[in-house]
């Protein structure tokens, strides 16, 4: 029996889809059988981030409406063994699915997969309620900004009222140079305000843009900082005790060299 994890945030654009794609791929790299579920019905994006947009035949709503069997809608990622995607419908809206249907879908997927990762849409309406319905645990993604942290706080409250306790936090797009200068809230500042457990931190990394351009999750690139951060989170979710990575800005010899030569 697998575990259903929902990736949520409240605010849009903080990195839910990127996080879903990287954690899912990370689990697959660890040999786990994973399915990524895009719950953002009407605004699907996980397919393009994963580079699987050309392979969609059926989607989530086709499954819940009974137009196809669940197995027919699952897209197998050929690059990574044991990684699958269940895409969102693009031509329907959030009300096309009910929380009960989502719960049923998650229960079914759990039978077959080690991890079911649900990419939640932004907002707190129907789409959010659908996405969290079948989740065993929740991961909240935020960035070190007032608006994102505020929305994260709201989501924590809403998860609590839906009986989803102890969500874990990922702080995304940390810029160490700005934190050092006192111009960006630090991890400690954010944890102090939200008072929840930290699951991991992801540094701001240009490579995320490159990987999204290519449709290849960053986690497969061995030299990207964000990749290491995502790998650490995957291992923590699998029960390992991995210390938080120390994000240093341009301190490695290689980076200094790059800076000198203005590369």
């Amino acid at each position: 029996m697998g575990e259903v994890i929902v990736i949520t945030s409240g605010k849009g654009g903080v990195g839910k889809t990127t996080t879903s794609a990287n954690l899912g791929t990370g689990f697959a790299l660890q040999g786990k059988k994973v399915v990524l579920v895009d719950a953002d019905i009407g605004l699907r994006n996980l397919d393009v981030v994963m580079g699987l947009e050309n392979r969609i035949v059926y989607d989530l709503v086709d499954v819940t409406d009974g137009n196809c069997r669940l197995k027919q809608a699952l897209i197998r990622d050929k690059r990574y063994e044991s990684l699958y995607l269940l895409p969102a419908a693009q031509t329907r809206d959030k009300n096309a699915v009910t929380p009960e249907q989502m719960k049923q879908l998650c229960d079914e997927l759990k039978q077959d997969f080690d991890f079911v990762i649900i990419d939640c849409p932004a907002g707190i309406e129907q789409g959010f309620k659908n996405a969290i319905a079948g989740a065993d645990r929740a991961i909240i993604v935020t960035t070190p900004e007032v608006s994102a942290v505020r929305d994260a706080d709201r989501i924590i409250g809403l998860l609590e009222s839906e009986g989803k306790h102890n969500p874990k936090l990922i702080v995304n797009r940390i810029r160490p140079r700005m934190v050092k200068k006192g111009d960006m809230m630090s991890i400690d500042d954010i944890i102090e305000i939200l008072a929840i457990d930290l699951l991991g931190i992801i540094p701001e990394d240009d490579y995320i843009v490159v990987s999204t351009n290519r449709g290849e999750p960053a986690v497969v690139n061995p030299i990207s900082q964000a990749s290491t951060a995502y790998k650490n989170i995957v291992r923590r979710l699998m029960g390992e005790n991995i210390p938080l990575m120390i994000i240093e800005d341009n301190t490695s010899f290689f980076n200094k060299l790059k800076k000198i030569f203005n590369l």
Binding site: R154, K181, G182, M185, D189
Partner: protein, 92 residues
């Protein structure tokens, strides 16, 4: 002079992250208590009614606010009393 140098090197004592933190804290107090302006008005009305049984107060000058301290939320009411009601004590 030192201040200028510190500013040049970005060591502003009033760093923007402290501003962010303080603003967040304030906004979250209100978000978390989930108090709409209407709710505050209803509370004010109820308080006015209850207190009016014992003393005359000026509703217009009545101030009821939620304020936050380091770790808690406090309801602060500032209610000017015009006079005590004579009957109030003997009723008990």
């Amino acid at each position: 002079m030192l201040e200028l140098i510190q500013k040049l090197f970005g060591k502003d004592s009033n760093s923007s992250k402290d501003i962010a933190k303080e603003r967040l804290r304030l906004v979250l107090v209100h978000d978390r208590v989930n108090v709409s302006p209407q709710l505050m008005e209803t509370l004010k009305d109820d308080m006015f009614k209850a207190i009016s049984n014992y003393m005359d107060i000026n509703e217009k000058c009545m101030e009821v606010n939620l304020t936050h301290t380091e770790s808690s939320v406090t309801l602060v009411a500032n209610i000017p009393v015009t006079s005590m009601k004579r009957g109030a004590m003997s009723k008990r």
